[in-house]
């Protein structure tokens, strides 16, 4: 039974304590203020007028900034354990993932935080575009913003290699080779990126250094510039000037409150994803296994899909001309769209071209995702076979993707090596019949188990 007196008592106690903390904080603030004259600083930071008042539509910039801070902090904590060399990177990530308390969670936050950041920037840019907020006098702010977006994509690209598993290795291989297709400078660029002609130790350490030292420094400078310009020109506000002039509100407390609520929501989503969806490493990077087909992160997928449609002499068009063109158009957009009006309804051309661009990107993304999920649907028999494999302790002798004993043959790619179903069925009934001299015992399997186990064996192929 609940004792309501105690509950009431406790809540009173908590409220008292909270107001005590509040009291102490304001005293500390008063003390510091009397020495450092903080009030004007506070006014500059928090009393910035927002034309048209605070709005839930203005939260994306803050959400992006929060996600950057989240990436920076989780990244610092991951760096405590990470070793950027080919002989240790994979093991150190697996160590973080399996042995460090909360290590998997911090890595999950960093992984999903990156995705969330791409989404937040996308929404931020979309809102800026819709509201025509890139127009005079905010052209420079837009351009800095585009640079920030490109830096974030570079973060994603360099970070992808760091776990040094098969996906990471081959995706980076593809990315660097694309740089190599640029005429004249391409070869030099890709060599500089790799630190030589092969993707290896020098590539990993320079990607690491770029990811944790160079890019953060540049990004912080860019964010500072972006915000500096914002404070010089002020936020754009609603697209109709009369509505903007109708009312104005300070940044604190209502916009701060909206930003805070959204930030807490974003954190909740990222934390839930980190908690609920494990991020398995694929096999350790193996430069000799050229059959591995990597899949990039979802935000590069549309581009990956595009590359499938262009071949031969047209290839450079997709690998560098088009991306370069798009970046240039994005950069110069405020000067291309000379229309003074900000109201989206009265900017059909701008809106139409934006919509066209987005539908192409999302169309490609959609096709790509559909293709990806169409192929590796796991057969239920495979899942049952896997259970049989576990039940009979096959992993005691056999190894699959680095797990299990090394006494008997490694089965990681047995589906490629022995695609013959009948052979497996015969082999499981009586191992000596197909492999004379094998010390594998006969297992008492039912026909159903035999079939399932064989399905599982046949599904063990090189990742596609």
């Amino acid at each position: 039974m609940l004792d309501w007196d105690i509950v009431a008592c406790n809540s009173e106690f908590i409220i008292q304590n909270l107001s005590f903390v509040n009291e102490m904080a304001s005293r500390l603030y008063a003390w510091l203020d009397s020495r450092l004259n903080l009030k004007p600083v506070q006014r500059t930071l928090l009393d910035e007028p927002i034309p048209g008042g605070a709005s839930w539509i203005y939260v994306f910039g803050s959400a992006t900034l929060f996600l950057f801070v989240l990436q920076a902090t989780t990244g610092m904590f991951l760096a405590i354990y990470y070793a950027p060399t080919p002989d240790h990177a994979y093991d150190s990530v697996r160590f973080i993932e399996t042995e460090i308390t909360f290590g998997w969670f911090v890595r999950g936050l960093h992984h999903w935080g990156a995705s969330a950041m791409v989404v937040a920037i996308g929404l931020h840019m979309l809102q800026t575009f819709l509201y025509g907020a890139y127009k005079s006098p905010r052209e420079v702010m837009w351009m800095v913003g585009v640079v920030l977006f490109l830096i974030v994509m570079t973060f994603a690209f360099t970070g992808y290699l760091l776990p040094w598993d098969q996906t990471a290795y081959w995706a980076t291989q593809v990315g660097i080779n694309m740089v190599g297709t640029v005429p004249l400078v391409g070869d030099l660029f890709s060599r500089v990126l790799r630190g030589g002609e092969t993707l290896g130790a020098l590539t990993l350490s320079r990607f690491f250094a770029i990811h944790v030292l160079f890019l953060p420094a540049i990004l912080i400078g860019g964010i500072a510039l972006h915000l500096f310009i914002l404070r010089r020109v002020g936020p754009a506000g609603p697209w109709t000037d009369d509505r903007a002039s109708l009312s104005s509100e300070t940044f604190a407390p209502r916009q701060v409150y909206m930003d805070a609520v959204v930030i807490a929501g974003v954190f909740l989503v990222v934390a839930t994803l980190a908690f609920a969806i494990p991020l398995p490493l694929t096999d350790r990077a193996d430069p000799s296994d050229t059959s591995f087909v990597p899949v990039p992160e979802w935000y590069f997928l549309f581009y990956y899909e595009l590359l499938k449609y262009v071949h031969g002499p047209l290839e450079p068009l997709a690998t560098w001309i088009l991306p370069l063109l798009i970046v240039l158009i994005m950069m110069c957009w405020p000067f291309i769209d000379r229309n003074q009006v900000r109201n989206p309804i009265r900017r059909p051309v701008a809106l139409g071209s934006g919509l066209l661009f987005l539908s192409i990107v999302f169309g490609l993304l959609g096709i790509s995702i559909k293709d990806l999920y169409a192929v590796p649907r796991t057969d239920p028999a495979v899942a049952r076979g896997k259970a049989v494999y576990a039940q009979f302790g096959c992993a005691g002798c056999h190894r699959i993707h680095g797990e299990g004993g090394a006494v008997a043959p490694d089965l990681s790619t047995v589906g490629d090596v022995r695609p013959d179903r009948a052979w497996h069925l015969k082999h499981f009934r009586d191992p000596q019949a197909t492999s004379p001299g094998s010390f594998m015992p006969k297992f008492p399997l039912t026909d159903q188990q035999l079939n399932d186990l064989t399905s599982y064996m046949l599904s063990l192929k090189r990742a596609t």
Binding site: D47, D91, G103, V106, P253, V261, I263
Partner: protein, 179 residues
């Protein structure tokens, strides 16, 4: 709020309990995110400090090869786990078979300042070259600056093999304190 503190310029700024509400929600969001980050990150940071090094019984040799009262240095290879790395290290221990057949195993490190000592068969003493500590065949201090007897390692005999749990101890203390 006094008149002078009110923001000027005619902005519509929430006042009173509405303002307090925004403050509290903002603070609550900050606390939620702060705690949500602090616990896992600090947890991941400090957790290795609480992991005791895992030790395994290692086979150091056959018991038959030991003679009662005659200390023998036994080399063996142990696996040391250091974070995500596993390295093999050569370790030596001193084993002394007792008349009853059980075996005393000494850590090979002098209790004074950590030098390696050896058995002098002529003098029937363990002698440390560094500062001249000496011990008898049971590890008791006979002379020199050694503050305590030689450190004993857990040992057992199984199927004629001598198994030892290798440990290290702090030097210079009157009592054995495991590292």
């Amino acid at each position: 709020m006094t008149e002078a503190e009110l923001p000027t310029g005619g902005f519509s700024t929430p006042v009173g309990s509405r303002r307090t509400f925004f403050h509290w929600i903002t603070a609550a969001a900050a606390v939620f995110v702060g705690i949500g980050l602090a616990i896992p990150m600090v947890g991941s940071l400090i957790s290795p400090a609480f992991v005791r090094r895992r030790r395994d019984w290692v086979d150091v040799g056959a018991v038959d090869e030991l003679f009662p009262g005659h200390p023998t240095q036994l080399d063996h290879v142990t696996t040391i786990r250091d974070g995500w790395m596993e390295t093999k290290a050569q370790k030596a221990v001193w084993a002394v078979k007792q008349p009853q057949g059980d075996v005393k195993v000494f850590s090979p490190i002098c209790t004074h300042l950590g030098c390696g000592y050896r058995w002098d068969d002529a003098e029937k003493k363990f002698l440390c070259p560094c500062h001249g500590s000496s011990y008898d065949v049971d590890g008791r201090v006979l002379g020199g600056p050694a503050p305590r007897p030689l450190d004993l390692l857990p040992a057992k005999v199984e199927n004629g093999r001598l198994l030892v749990l290798y440990k290290e101890f702090k030097s210079g203390l009157p009592r054995s304190v495991e590292l």
